[in-house]
Amino acid sequence: MEKFIFRIHRYDGTTKWVQEYQFPYEENKTVLWALTKIKDEIDPTLNFTSACRHAICGSCGVRINGTSYLGCKTPLDEIIETFDSKMLTFEPLKNYDVIRDLVIDWKPKMKKLKLVKPWLIPTEEGSVEKGFKQTEQEFSKIASPTDCILCGVCTSECGQLNVNDGVYLDPFILNKAYRFALDSRDGSSNEHIQPVLDNELWKCIHCMQCVTNCPKGIPLTDQIAYLRKTTMKMGAKDNQGARHAYAFYDDVKKVGRLNEMMLPIKTDGMVKTIGKRVPMAARMVYKGKINPLHMPKKVNGIEGIRKIYKYAQEVSK
């Protein structure tokens, strides 16, 4: 008989252990079905959270073989196919405090969420008596970010949070800031965005895990690009991230390609670069990886590129 073998990471507040459960394989079942079955029929001491069963309450995020899923909407067959095995390892979501077994603590995250003022700061055009006018197009801008169900899958998968000491904002928090910054009824987008900038916005490492795994398909990485762009529009251009982005922007305009030699200097400034990167530069020159005298030449068609820049500027206006 075919069977599932689940290896579930358990925790009781003091001790951690891995417990194995075996039960008959069934077709067309979800992850949540399996966890519920274990609790109902095999081991009532196993704990996890779940509620709505249809991907709207956000309770049942769990990590299987290192990837985070929303349990209720994930077919076991899909996971079996991915890993080519019916033996699966379950862990609680990463980057959360664990309370027991697969149960994580959301409380600390809400403290962090509050940094971005996750509520509407109404403009004077609306009133509590009459509400607001908002066009269909304006609504469409906030339609997708308000799909967020706070399931925590993005946090669990975030490559920066995995190595961060806790300041960097979880993707769902960035989403919340974005959602209010874009709402035509909100009169103070800076109040949502400034805290994002102050809390390491530029540390996103572009691992694409959040956008890949979000069970609601929210374009989180596009939002990060938007937030960065907006901070620069707000005038915050004098930081490593912004200078780095502009180094690319400027080089392409100038010659079409990146000048790798100058990139650290443009990003960090001359003083810091000399202080920090001389040993690395020396290593690179020694190995022939870089030639300090090499300057990229203008590519063929650079005039056309500059026209594109000019055109893009007009369009973006």
Binding site: D12, G13, N28, K39, D40, E41, D43, P44, T45, N47, T49, S50, A51, C52, R53, H54, A55, I56, C57, G58, S59, K73, I99, R100, D101, V103, D105, W106, M110, L113, K114, K117, P118, W119, L120, P122, G126, S127, V128, E129, K130, G131, F132, K133, Q134, T135, E136, E138, F139, I142, A143, T146, D147, C148, I149, L150, F180, D183, R185, D186
Partner: protein, 570 residues
């Protein structure tokens, strides 16, 4: 001892609205406790919309029309003072939600968009695509964060405490630590949702819709009102019971039997698919019974066909619904019709509320709002789009009511609160260390089976009598159950144990009230009494739990101010 002027139990739409409006008064200490993290609450599952006569889409719409539709929908069992208060205030509440940042879908004029819904004479259901409850829940939560409401997430209500006929507070469990804690309170708002889980998996309800607050009130003598009125949503997904939004019918979906016939023509020739929920559910079950459904027995179903709406409309108006059908039924509604069957959806009955404007109960200090309460707004059948509306409006007024009550009252004695906490501590210890006895999951499943088989959409004396016998037996069995988890920290087995106890108590109320209502009205449809009997049953049922755990029925008058009962036709 922890002490709060106002304690709100439940953090769904009603609970958080209550917490928010109670917090308006900054002189008061307000706490909101919830057995789950607030945004997990079941308000979030509401898809289709929220009713208010804004008149944006149809300028002839009015609160008066909304009033009339609701009363008619209720099969004349709703209290008309409550309904009128509700429909008059709803437009204000929608604007308030808009001001709180709820992302409503919009019409071409920049106003909140409205769609037609079952049983409504005008398109008055405001919505946000098909995730209306979700965005409302999150927006209210955001407002609570702004107001710095004191949340106790994953704290579970065990009981309410009354000493010398006076409410003194509540006993709760901090699930995360396993501590059992008494909380002193001047007033409380119970907003713990419905108890559709008496049918366990044959429901659209979340796993934790177990009526904890309703049971807590019931146990201290507040009667259960109209529990026999259980709404079965016509369009549950066939294989899981998960809800497929009423918006499908609202946007023009067809219901088809196996002959490809739009069978609603037989039951509601004018309104067709847009008939009220009770009528449509019965029509589907009749089709199945008479052999015009697909599949066999428990797996029978009919089809919801949306293909004629076209891709654009489906993608714009029903994107999440489409996803849902794909993920949970494996059907893409752009290509194929979706198999559906009625599923228990909503409890019209609940905690007997005596004043619709303060949501107070017969015990001074205890208020109740939302699905756990019976105001009675919905009477014998709730209209789609009236539940999220109920939740925000009555949640708000319950908060105001509780705020005023808190000013009138002072903290009571701690004696009984401490005793009650001790009782629960002992119970917790005993239960978690018990190693043998009846299996709690079996008890739960047997309860669901008998409720579905015998107290479902069509009801009969004999079957219900069987159910009553079985429920009584299960209540006995429950006393000798064990849970199999000795842990103190995050012991969900214990929480589930208490929940199942609550469900059993409430299920018994449902059966008794249903047995004794010898007529068919709204969602309560009896094969042996097929017509409405206003002479004998134009009345609310009150189920009392007496000292010795005996149940007693009483009937009270329905408040009729404007609309005299007439035949209900669609």
């Amino acid at each position: 001892m922890l002490a709060y002027d106002v304690v709100v139990v439940g953090a769904g739409g009603a609970g958080m609205m209550a917490a928010l409006s109670a917090s308006e008064d900054e002189s008061l200490k307000v706490a909101c406790i919830s057995k789950i993290f607030p945004t997990r609450s079941h308000t979030g599952a509401a898809q289709g919309g929220i009713n208010a006569a804004m008149g944006y889409r149809d300028s002839t719409d009015s609160p008066e029309k909304h009033f009339k539709d609701t009363v008619k929908g209720s099969d004349f069992l709703a209290d008309q003072d409550a309904v009128e208060f509700f429909t008059t205030k709803m437009p204000e509440v929608i604007s308030e939600l808009d001001y709180y940042g709820v992302p409503f879908s919009r019409d071409g004029n920049g106003n909140i968009a409205q769609r037609p819904f079952g049983g409504a004479s005008s398109p008055r259901t405001c919505y946000s695509a098909d995730k209306t409850g979700h965005v409302i829940l999150h927006s209210i939560y955001e407002q609570c964060l702004k107001k710095e409401v004191d949340f106790f997430d994953e704290w579970f209500l065990l009981s309410l405490v009354v000493e010398d006929s006076s409410f003194t507070g509540l006993v709760v469990m901090n699930i995360k630590t396993g501590e059992i804690v008494p909380i002193k309170a001047k007033s409380v708002v119970i907003a713990t949702g419905g108890f559709g889980r008496i049918y366990w998996n044959r429901t659209t309800n979340a796993l934790n819709m177990t009526g904890d607050g309703t049971a807590a009130c019931f146990n201290i003598g507040i009667p259960l009102k109209d529990p026999e009125f259980v709404q079965f949503h016509p369009t549950g997904l066939a294989s899981t019971g998960v809800l497929l939004s009423e918006a499908c019918r609202g946007e023009g979906g067809y219901l088809l039997n196996k002959d490809g016939e739009r069978f609603m023509a037989r039951y509601a020739p004018e309104k067709m698919e847009l008939g009220p929920r009770d009528l449509v559910s019965r029509s589907i079950e009749t089709e199945i019974k008479e052999g015009r459904g697909f599949g066999e027995g428990m797996d029978s179903y009919v089809l919801m066909d949306l293909r004629h709406l076209g891709k654009k409309k489906i993608m714009e108006r029903l994107p999440q619904v489409r996803e849902l059908a794909m993920e949970f039924e494996g059907v893409d509604m752009l290509e194929e019709p979706v198999p559906i069957r009625p599923s228990c959806h909503y409890m019209m009955g609940g905690i007997h509320v005596i004043n619709p404007e303060t949501l107070s109960t017969q015990i001074e200090g205890i208020h109740a709002a939302g699905e756990c309460a019976c105001v009675s707004l919905h009477g014998a059948n709730r209209l789609g789009g009236n539940s999220v509306a109920d939740v925000v409006l009555f949640g708000k007024y319950a908060g105001i009511g509780a705020r005023e009550t808190a000013h009138r009252r002072s903290y009571g004695s701690e004696t009984k609160l401490n005793q009650e906490a001790q009782v629960w501590n002992k119970k917790f210890e005993t239960i978690r260390n018990k190693k043998t006895g009846k299996n709690i999951v079996d008890i739960r499943n047997k309860m669901a089976q008998t409720m579905w088989d015998n107290v479902g959409i069509f009801r009969k004396e004999e079957e219900m009598a069987t159910a009553l016998k079985e429920i009584n037996q299960l209540i006995k069995d429950y006393k000798d159950t064990y849970i199999g988890d000795p842990a103190v920290r995050y012991n969900m087995a214990f929480v589930n144990y208490v929940e199942i106890g609550n469900l059993l108590d409430l299920a018994k109320g449902v059966v008794m009230a249903a047995l004794n209502r010898k007529e068919s009205r709204g969602s309560h449809s009896r094969g042996d009494y097929q017509t409405r009997d206003d002479a004998n049953f134009l009345a609310h049922t009150l189920v009392h739990k007496r000292e010795n755990d005996d149940y007693e029925l009483e009937y009270i008058q329905v408040k009729i101010t404007k609309y005299q009962p007439e035949e209900r036709k669609y």
